[in-house]
Amino acid sequence: MQVLTGEELEDLILGCTILGTGGGGSPQKGLAMIRADLREGREFKLANLEEIPDEAMVASPYMCGSISPEDAAGTQKESLECLEAFKALEKYLGKRFFAAIPTEIGGENTAIALSVAAKMEIPVVNADPAGRSVPELQHTTFYVKNVPIAPLAVASAKGDIIILKEVADDLRAEVIVRAIAVASANRAGVADHPVRGGILRESVVPRTLSNAMAIGAVVRQARSSGTDPVEAVVTAQRGYLLFKGKVVQAGWKIDEGFTIGDLSIRGQGDYLDHRYRIWYKNENIISWFDDQSDVTVPDLICVLDPNTGEAITNPNCKKGMDVVVTGCPAPSIWRSPRGLELFGPRHFGYVMDYGKIEENRRLGGADRN
């Protein structure tokens, strides 16, 4: 069990935002939440999967609904609703949770789990059910492995507590939780996937928080030593530099609760005379290099600021910005047939087969089929 320092927490959020592939919420709000807990003297503990006893229960706290504009008061309240939901699920099950697990890796969503765990005085698990950020509630490795989402608890700012005892499937859970959020000023704290340590180990992506922390740390070190932070990210994520250029188009809209958009980037330096395009649904989903499809989900497509190495979240990537695009392989569980069925390019309506990023010929890999 590792107690995280303030610096490690800052590295973690920075890294989570990069692995958030454009989504995962606002890192500013995530950081504000964690700093407030630190000021209150709370401790953040990180537990590896091996440290979770087979019979110990773990659950996943998160926020459902549209995120309110940045304000510190709102930030505190959000983590409190998630805390209420987490406690309600404990009470319903008649068991204490040994730890909290983030629902995904993202600047705000991972911070919520950290904040709930700190307030409960329990560790956060060094793992998550996505290994990145994902747009839809059923995009979890729990769903790939058929770990039930219910019973789950929902808490609203109005003091309501609802236990979803049985649910038809994860898609229904999404619809029901969203309906409750809509009836609750568009926000609801949720705790779901109560699961024992033994099953948890088989159904989530391990070491994703320490991985995010390592990525955040190399960015920080590169910045302080004056070396290229982007190169440091590519090395740390065992990934690839996909493109470098200036954003020439950045259209987006809110569609059924999702932020959907398209980025066009004109190449610079080594990429002069080339173009790059990214389509996103909250997270970056698919990219094209000169109209040839380049990288797709579940592999990660990250848009970074070339000077700071920090991630640019959607839809904050605007026309005229200089950006670099990096990519890295998805956790192997997403590359299974069921993983690809749930979270491959076809799920988003693109009729194409998934090709692993490391087999991309443009990037020096083997022939793609």
Partner: protein, 360 residues
């Protein structure tokens, strides 16, 4: 305790639909539900409030959703029973009886069905003395009996427990949203209450009143008497209007069926106009443009010749109907009762005047 046979059950369902004031669900679906259970050999028992142990825990199971002519309730199956049992499971205690949330052709049938399937008595009482559109239009709300914990079951197989809720309005909002995403129909069980508390608040003898209303209609038809007049008398009510439906506009709005019916007078009402506005149930009526009857008093539309109730939104143009009114239970006529279920609650800026003062 009294055992109910097929004829008594039929009288109860028709009486409940009349007292359902246009809402309370479809009578034919209620009849089909009960007929199926009779064929399965299930037994139906009506219990007086004093028949039950004061410590007995009672649950109130019902179906929540919009009534529309497309139906869609059949596939909802036993969601009310599922909610009833989920709440028992959550509380760790079995219910010893069932109370109907309201009187209505399908609403009361739902409670009767849950009682029969579990071999429990249905109490001769309910929480409204009529049908009511919103969850908080219940005497439980007026008397401060907590609605939670409550259970909700959907036809899709979802089961949830609303463990705590800010107030009944919030419960209403949450349940309604869940109904909307569940094919407009969920089973609910709420207000788990011990008999000693329950008997202080609910409206007694309403199921036997419904039975009486249904019976006098049946007898009047047998004797070729005026069924509408017999029904009005049985419920201490008034024959308000007789007319022809000339217009009927309605829509489903946030899970409620909202509409307006216009009548032009026939027979002794010739030359007069009548209008009824409803939100699931008939809420307010106007005679020649003047307010006539409002909630919480009851406004029922019956087929003129048979006295059969017409549920919303089935009051089709060209139908010949009688409109009858009944006084609400005394429990509704308190200041709190009027606030919860008076005309102003539905946005009509009208003072409530008891029907017997308008018509007496």
């Amino acid at each position: 305790m009294r055992s109910l046979g097929a004829i008594e059950l039929e009288d109860i369902l028709i009486g409940c639909t009349i007292l359902g004031t246009g809402g309370g669900g479809s009578l034919s679906e209620g009849q089909r539900l009960i007929k199926g259970l009779i064929e399965k050999g299930e037994e139906f028992t009506l219990g007086k409030l004093e028949d039950l142990d004061p410590k007995a825990l009672i649950g109130s199971p019902y179906y929540c959703g919009s009534i529309s002519p497309e139906g869609g309730k059949e596939e909802s199956g036993e969601v009310a029973l599922k909610a009833f049992e989920a709440l028992e499971d959550y509380l760790g205690e079995e219910f010893k009886g069932v109370i109907a949330a309201e009187l209505g052709g399908f609403a009361t049938a739902g409670a009767l069905a849950v009682a029969a399937e579990r071999g429990l008595p249905l109490l001769d009482a309910d929480a409204a003395g009529r049908a009511a559109p919103d969850l908080q239009c219940s005497i439980f709300y007026v008397m401060g009996i907590p609605i939670a914990p409550m259970a909700v079951a959907s036809p899709m197989g979802d089961v949830m427990i609303v463990k705590q809720v800010q107030d009944d309005r919030r419960a209403e909002e949450i349940i309604r949203r869940i109904a909307v995403i569940s094919g407009n129909m969920v089973g609910v069980c709420d207000h788990p209450t011990r008999m000693e508390m329950l008997q202080e608040v609910v409206i007694p003898n309403t199921i036997s009143l419904a039975e009486k209303v249904g019976r006098v209609r049946r007898k009047a038809m047998e004797k070729e008497d005026n069924p509408c007049k017999a029904i009005a008398e049985a419920g201490n009510g008034y024959l308000l209007f007789q007319g022809l439906v000339t217009a009927h506009n309605w829509k489903v709005e946030e899970g409620f069926t909202v509409g307006q019916i216009k009548l032009t007078g026939i027979d002794e009402c010739k030359g007069e106009e009548y209008t009824i506005w409803y939100k699931n149930e008939n809420i307010i009526s106007w005679c020649n443009g003047e307010v006539d009857v409002t909630v919480p008093d009851l406004i029922s539309i019956l087929e003129k010749d048979t006295g059969m109730p017409i549920t919303n939104p089935n009051c089709d143009k060209g139908k010949r109907v009688s409109v009858i009114g009944f006084p609400a239970s005394e429990q509704w006529r308190t200041p709190d009762g009027i606030t919860a279920f008076g005309p102003k609650f539905f946005g009509h800026d009208v003072e409530y005047v008891p029907i017997e003062r308008r018509r007496g």
